[in-house]
């Protein structure tokens, strides 16, 4: 295949990627967009097998190894993507992003090993950039994965003097980058890779749970940039375009996500350098709460004129979406006005609640976004909070310095009655107490959300 044809096919794959991102930005075309992206990736992958680059010939060298490695990748990636539960998708995305960053770093390392004296400074710099950012993306993503999978604490990990350690590591990374550029060699490269991996870990550790998705998105954009840099070294227009697209759109997306969560991007990014250990009192709580029975809840609901259901992560854990719909239908049938108040970051990924409730065929008109539903709480008789916590926690307004401070919340406390369905007094994702649980107008119904809801539905029917 001639270079021109190879390049044109590569460009058409790049166009597929543009159309994919475009499609993914609109609900109606999102799925098609993803398929177009997959098509582009398939085209791009197939075409390399038919083009003999300079100093090489067809079939590719090490073809067996290449195909074998791809099969291994398929056998790992596809089942993982297929079997994962809805609630665990965010960490899977983090993991996939990490391995992508790792792959880019490895490609750069191999390229580096082969760079002779003929290499231009720009090429060496691009290689070093890829190694650093790829490694940071790899180790950072692993940490985010562990946080989301709750293999480690989701709270910010900060230790005294931590920010000096982080800043010091960054300086060391940059210094060894300079070393690699000035003195080509394997040892400096290994040092660089090691330091970069360390920096990735230190960079993500101080990030609080709620900021994790933002960091995943940022690392995703980083990985895109490394792919673009690899494209420069490997002289591949496709990689340059694809990588830059992901880098640019990822940056915007990171900003949008930070806005939706009411976080400052700057604070999230440089939190690592400024974070100080915080004392948030947890445990040792002796105040009393009012817990109720399913019958109490059913009565409250039965005499309401307007009920707002606030779903959260616990709804997803309990897989109670169908039961909640049953309850809502029952209430509607009694002439009660029912709406779902959807917080943009309820659950563990943006859109989590929408996806979940869509699965149960909840009528779209009943889903109200935060800005729509907040003004209606004063006219609401009951706010029924199912497995949500952080998204209704008034600490976001009242406690400067707490991890969710500044995030807009659903103002359920303005409703006549507040009902929480949760299993215990344990805090939510951000790991902070919720004062609202102790509010006199709050009723708690302990237990798994699905079981509790089923009981409430039963009680309502027998009223």
């Amino acid at each position: 295949m001639s270079r021109a044809i190879y390049d044109l096919i590569g460009l058409s794959a790049g166009v597929c990627f543009i159309l994919a991102l475009k499609g993914l930005s609109h609900p109606r075309t999102a799925r098609r967009g993803n398929l177009i992206g997959a098509l582009g990736a398939t085209i791009a992958t197939l075409v390399v097998f038919f083009y003999a680059s300079e100093g090489s010939s067809l079939p590719l060298n090490n073809l067996g190894w290449i195909l074998g490695a791809m099969v291994v990748g398929l056998l790992i990636g596809v089942p993982a993507a297929r079997k994962v539960q809805m609630t665990q998708m965010p960490q899977l995305v983090a993991l996939f992003n990490g391995v992508g960053g790792g792959a880019a770093a490895l490609v750069a390392i191999v390229e580096y090993l082969k760079l002779g004296d003929g290499a231009t400074v720009a090429e060496v710099v691009a290689t070093v950039f890829t190694v650093i950012v790829g490694c940071v993306s790899f180790s950072g993503s692993i940490i985010t994965f562990m946080k989301l999978q709750e293999l480690m604490t989701t709270r910010p990990v900060v230790f005294p003097g931590g920010r000096f350690v982080i800043a010091g590591t960054l300086v060391a990374v940059l210094a060894s980058g300079g070393w690699v550029i000035s003195a080509l060699g394997t040892t400096p490269l290994l040092v660089l890779a090691g330091l970069s991996l360390l920096f990735g870990v230190l960079f993500v550790l101080p990030v609080g749970g709620a900021d994790v998705p933002i960091v995943i998105s940022l690392l995703n954009a980083f990985t895109g940039l490394t792919v673009a840099a690899s494209g420069y070294v490997l002289d591949s227009t496709l990689l340059i375009i694809a990588g830059t697209l992901v880098g640019a759109s990822g940056t915007i997306l990171t900003r949008l996500m930070a806005e939706a969560m009411g976080r400052s991007l700057f604070g999230t990014l440089f939190g690592a350098f400024t974070a100080k250990p915080q004392d948030v009192a947890i445990g040792g709580e002796t105040r009393t709460v009012r817990s109720g029975s399913p019958d109490d809840v059913a009565i409250l609901l039965n005499y309401a004129r307007r009920v707002v259901i606030v779903p959260g992560f616990g709804l997803a854990v309990a897989q109670a979406q169908h039961t909640v719909r049953e309850l809502a239908d029952l209430l509607s049938a009694k002439g009660i006005d029912v709406a779902y108040g959807i917080h943009p970051v309820a659950g563990r990924m943006p859109g989590h609640m929408n996806v979940l409730l869509a699965e149960a065929n909840v009528p779209y008109e009943q889903l109200a976004e935060m800005d729509e539903v907040n003004p209606t709480f004063p006219q609401t008789d009951v706010a029924l909070i199912i497995g949500a916590n952080d998204v209704v926690n008034p600490a976001a307004k009242t406690t400067p310095g707490c991890p969710i401070y500044g995030m807009p919340i659903l103002d359920v406390s303005l409703a006549g009655n507040v009902i929480f369905l949760k299993r215990s007094m344990r805090p939510g994702f951000a790991g902070i107490e919720n004062e609202l649980l102790y509010d006199p107008k709050t009723t708690l119904l302990f237990g798994d959300a699905k079981a509790s809801l089923t009981k409430v539905v039963g009680a309502l029917k027998s009223l």
Binding site: M70, V107, K114
Partner: protein
């Protein structure tokens, strides 16, 4: 390719990337991130190229590892994105109308 052309391509691709996603609704943040994530799995192409060029066992070993990781990134990414979006199926039309 000429450095100048590369710079031009880079700058234009940045604008395309910015513009294309700048209006996305928060519901789609995760699928979009996941889809973009799958797209950078195209580093697989780079991994295959360096595997082709590998002369030493070290190079080949690293390249093969890169291919495995890149394949996971790419294929897994598209599959998981599709699964997320599957949930929107059926609701798609109403949502689209509503978001206009």
């Amino acid at each position: 390719m000429e450095p100048m052309a590369i710079v031009a391509i880079f700058v234009l691709a940045v604008f395309v990337g910015f513009e294309v996603v700048s209006k996305v609704s928060s519901t789609l943040h995760t699928p979009l991130m996941s889809g973009a994530n799958a797209i950078h799995g195209v580093i697989l192409v780079g991994a295959i190229i360096v595997a082709d060029h590998s002369k030493t066992n070290l190079e080949l070993g690293l390249s093969v590892a890169a291919i495995v990781l890149a394949t996971i990134n790419m294929v897994g990414g598209f599959v998981v994105t599709d699964r997320m979006l599957e949930m929107f199926k059926g609701k798609g039309k109403e949502r689209a109308k509503d978001s206009k």
